[in-house]
Symmetry: C2
Subunit: 208 residues, 2 copies
Amino acid sequence: MLRKLNILVVDDHPVVLEGMLNILKQLDFIAEIHKAGEAISAMSIVRKFAIDVVITDINLPEINGIELGRKIHAEFPNINIIGMSTFHDPLYVGELIQAGGKGFITKNSTVSEIESTIRGVMEGQVIISHLLNNQKQVSFPDSQGPIITRREKEVLALIAEGCTNKEIAEKLFVSLSTVDSHRKNLLAKFEVMNTASLISKAMKSGVL
Amino acid sequence: MLRKLNILVVDDHPVVLEGMLNILKQLDFIAEIHKAGEAISAMSIVRKFAIDVVITDINLPEINGIELGRKIHAEFPNINIIGMSTFHDPLYVGELIQAGGKGFITKNSTVSEIESTIRGVMEGQVIISHLLNNQKQVSFPDSQGPIITRREKEVLALIAEGCTNKEIAEKLFVSLSTVDSHRKNLLAKFEVMNTASLISKAMKSGVL
DNA sequence: TTTGATCTCCCTTAAAAAGGGGATTTTTAG
DNA sequence: CTAAAAATCCCCTTTTTAAGGGAGATCAAA
């Protein structure tokens, strides 16, 4: 790297914010470290200072990290955005990359993983830290949840509300068989064997 | 306080660990700060050093924070245990207090809240940090969903993972009938008629 | 125009869950 | 110690899902 980096950390958890700051302070290629607790003040900072890298929590209040990433990327395409989350959720990774993000770390990431991620994205790579151990270089798509059709989504929503197939059939004015088919397809697409895991997967992946 | 405190922080997320360390370093009444990534090494530390306060994450791998609290409290009843979690789960608070814990903070807690909590527990109080603002001195419960038992929660989690009653019975080493009963009670408590709405209600209310 | 995707419908069989009852033994808390 | 609560187990029946197969109609895009 030619010069030291200015970095912005966005997280609504003060503890995490402090932790990242502390870790970043140890890295010799970091110049200024800015911090923000939510998206609005994060935007102010990127507009005011010459930020090179933004590390943002995904689960922010009001405007989430993905949205923040999108906004920053739209205004400052040269800023490298790294997402951060407690858990590694493939959905988040996918959405973040689509929003212009370049890296992803979890709060389980070690200091050296964080360092590698920052260095990597500055070199133009896309780095998903939990894949570092396996030397893998992304190769998305790992398309969040499965692609479901309009009709399947309707059926899914009604299932989640607790409707039986018969009730769904009546509400959608189709036969029981049809609902059954949609249901089978949903199970297949989500790669699950029963309603319980269908609903939890669907909710986790944000389809519901 | 008469003397400075020796403190142990237990968390499996390096970032959080760093953050807490950094925050604690700012407090003038802290002497030694120890850290551990999981319960086993935490136990070694409390046995080796004269620890006054343990701040432990609830969601630890292998042995969780509640269990760790129980173990520490059994061996060293004078150590003040403070639980820490990402979200404020009334269940965790209750269980931690029962396990001998004296305080509870979330990763949303501010530096001053953390400081107040530590001071408070050293003075013999039970401090739940998110209640500090309201000047309230415990008196849980609250909670949006129904009150479910430990066992019911286990069953619920396994249902959400997609296990059938038979599989759950095998995993929990109980009979199919037992699982069936728990399941029936869950449906009754959540006031639903089937698995689909059980899972969606449970997830929405944060029980899952 | 042909292909592909979606939506629709049907069959069968087996497995799982829901709904109703009741009963015993641990645990826990007062 | 003694109740209450939780956890365990069993019976029964009916309803609902799941898994396997196949198939026609429609509509949009290549």
